[in-house]
Amino acid sequence: MGYDPKDPLKDRITDIGPRNYEEFLPPVIKENYGKWLYHDILEPGVLMHVSETGAKVYTVRVGGCRLMSVTHIREICEIADKHCGGYLRFTTRNNIEFMVDDESKLKPLMEDLEKREFAGGSKKFPRGGTGAGLTNVVHTQGWIHCHTPAIDASGVVKCVMDELYDDFQNMRFPAQVRISLACCLNMCGAVHCSDIAILGIHRKPPMLDHEHLDNMCEIPLAIAACPTGAIKPATVDGKKTVAVKNERCMFCGNCYTMCPSMPLADEEGSGVALLVGGKISNRISEPKFSKVVVPFLPNEPPRWDSTVEAIKKILYAYVEDANKYERLGDWAERIGWERFFEKTGLPFTEHLIDDYRFAYTTWRQSTQFKF
């Protein structure tokens, strides 16, 4: 018997949590859990982990779209059944990993993955994303399913990865490069510590739907939501509503999150900002935030040319100039930001000088600069 809408609480089960991961571990993983000694990247997208028992697991990593259909997942299952004993895993960066316990199983798996293409001609399972190269772009929902985005997500990522495809499949960078995308300042994807962050931003203050605002929103919550205190209560045509001090708005969209009658997305106003030089790892230097180096690029569907172009400028200037093991942010700090703008050819504008809280800590208090 299934769910009975007439008696919704009958036999109800709740709070059982996720399935226990132990059910889903391939045997070689289960047997060598906690016993791994070292690993090697045999070629881009192929890892070999060696256990103290002598066992080895070979992993083939392929890039996936975060958005995927059940038909596509079934195809992934078919591959895993055929080659990997019915197990697989996904990575934090939306890659799919197929694992085998014997080197002889590697080639047939790779050949199988390689030949699969979508009807439109794109690869279904591009191999790569390891070592000193580009890994898959993590991203948010964008126009496909979110209600606050300034930009699309899947489409922008597709265009960027089409252009950087060879670098996903190669390991010729000084260090790994993590590109991430968040379609608005809410940053569901937390892109603020990425080597290159693609961020959707708005540039117009919210519109006010005075007629419905009082019915749709808790006015005090909308007022409290504004980090700069730009919203105040108002009465328009006898209706309780809010007023916005436009010059104080920094377009964070938090008011819209609290109040649907304050939309701010706009054809001309919304678009892309690029941030660079963030990292999460503690390796060599400490984790650091990304910094804004392109304050705005327009939304350019379907191929997002300016965004793709700007990313290539940043990425290849870094690849050309940085030392081995040096992350993008460490490179920028070593050469200095004046050189960064010179080498990337990006224009430096007033919008790149911080004017929000704690801005002072980012201005230069020394005479140590470069001509």
Partner: protein, 435 residues
């Protein structure tokens, strides 16, 4: 034959990277001809493409703000979504998301994935996110009457629960840990699973000031980015010495092993130079190489992982392992981006994790009491002060918690800090000091 013309989206079928447009089209086609009895609109995928094409033309999203839907007894796990052109695109009139709690480290059996696919083909749009940014399996697009049906099947047939959304504990996530990584300093998968089970109530019933995220990294490399996006970041580390296999070090120097596990093989960087690539890049300069033997002054090591990453066959993490616990990371909304702050330099991470749970509950009690509506933990710590946070957690201050001591001398002394307290007699003062 496609229901809507999508000339702009068709451009996204070109190029080599997997095309999500091609995938949605393939799903639309399969939905058109399937013999499965569909309980959600047959045209969901077609209409989603149509709606996205319209968005590409208008450059402003066509999803309405919010929508309160859910399953009975839960406050999270379902996100309501309605399209603002329902007449044009009835297949996505309502298109709610269900967040499904992913298994630790996102390992799957194909059997489970197929069950999930069957369920979502019948009762949803057939589209998913594998995975959402917090880590959940995202089932994308279903109608309100299907929500309880899906929940029933998930729990009864798949033995699987929903994840979190709203002001609650968000679905915890972890790195691959001991399953396939030699750097894991504690069992991230076991801890993630244990805490997820322990705090089911907090996960499903929003009772916090705002969202709260746990993330578990097995080592300071930080593969799940816990330091940047978790209110509580648990990052594996060790207290004793890095284990050295001197023979293997010499083999790296001799070129028998590729440095960094072969991560740089796409370019000719010249022969491996241990002096330049390891010793010289060590942030604390605590290593020495005399041509035969590698010495590490472990007391000065900050465990950044660089040398271990470069020579994984020669160097291993220590054996007295555990984790550092940091609190307060978040993305910019509202008060600007924050990274987690080191609060507990070291804790042993062993079942049943009582010490960690005790810490978590103290943090929640304090934040629930003191936190304002929609104030993340990191913002609250800034507002009340880190000292206060330590006091509540009963943790002694330690130089490990700071980057540098304060440079402003405006110290908020408490009355009990000063001998004699704050009450003084002005008349007594005037006896010695004329007005």
């Amino acid at each position: 034959m496609a229901k809507h013309k999508t000339p702009m989206l068709d451009e996204l079928e070109k190029g080599r990277w997997p095309s999500f447009v091609s995938d949605i089209k393939q799903e639309a086609e399969n939905r058109g001809k399937t013999s499965v009895e569909l309980h959600a609109p047959k045209e969901a995928c077609d209409d989603l493409l149509g709606l996205l094409e319209l968005t590409y033309k208008d450059k402003v999203v066509h999803w309405k703000h919010g929508g309160i839907v859910g399953v009975f007894g839960y406050g999270g796990g379902v996100i309501g979504r309605y399209c603002d052109q329902p007449d044009q695109f009835p297949g996505v009139r309502d298109f709610h998301t269900m967040r499904v709690n992913q298994p630790s480290s996102k390992f799957y059996s194909t059997e489970f994935l197929r069950q999930l696919c069957d369920l979502w083909e019948r009762r949803g749009s057939g589209l998913t996110n594998m995975h959402g940014s917090t880590g959940d399996i995202i089932l994308l697009g279903t109608t309100t009457p299907q929500l309880e049906e899906i929940f029933w099947e998930l729990t009864h047939d798949l033995n699987q629960d929903l994840g979190g959304s709203g002001s609650n504990l968000r679905t915890p996530s972890d790195c691959i840990g001991m399953a396939r990584c030699e750097y894991a300093c504690y069992d991230t998968m076991a801890l993630c699973y244990d805490l997820t089970m322990e705090y089911q109530d907090e996960l499903h019933r929003p009772a916090f000031p705002y969202k709260f995220k746990f993330k578990f990294d097995g080592c300071p490399n930080g593969c799940v980015a816990s330091i940047a996006r978790a209110d509580m970041s648990v990052i594996g580390t060790w207290r004793d010495d890095i284990r050295i296999d001197q023979g293997a070090v010499r083999e790296y120097v001799g070129g028998e092993f590729k440095p960094n596990a072969g991560a740089h093989s796409g370019r000719d960087w010249g022969t491996f130079d241990i002096q330049k690539e390891v010793i010289g890049l060590c942030p604390t300069q605590c290593m020495e190489w005399d041509g035969k033997k590698l010495k590490i002054d472990n007391k000065e090591c900050t465990r950044c992982m660089h040398c271990i990453n470069v020579m994984p066959r020669a160097l291993r993490i220590g054996q007295d392992t555990g984790a550092s616990i940091l609190f307060g990371a978040k993305a910019p909304i509202l008060e600007g981006a924050q990274m987690s702050t080191l609060t507990v330099p070291f804790m042993k991470i062993e079942e049943p994790y009582d010490e960690l749970k005790d810490l978590i509950e103290k943090v929640w009690d304090f934040w629930s009491e003191e936190g304002k509506n929609r104030e993340r933990l990191g913002e609250m710590i800034q507002r009340v002060g880190f000292q206060k946070f330590l006091e509540v957690l009963e943790i002694e201050p330690d130089p490990r918690m700071i980057q540098e001591p304060r440079s402003n001398p405006y110290i908020f002394w408490k009355e009990e800090d000063v001998p004699g307290g704050w009450d003084r007699d002005i008349k007594e003062f005037r006896k010695k000091h004329q007005r």
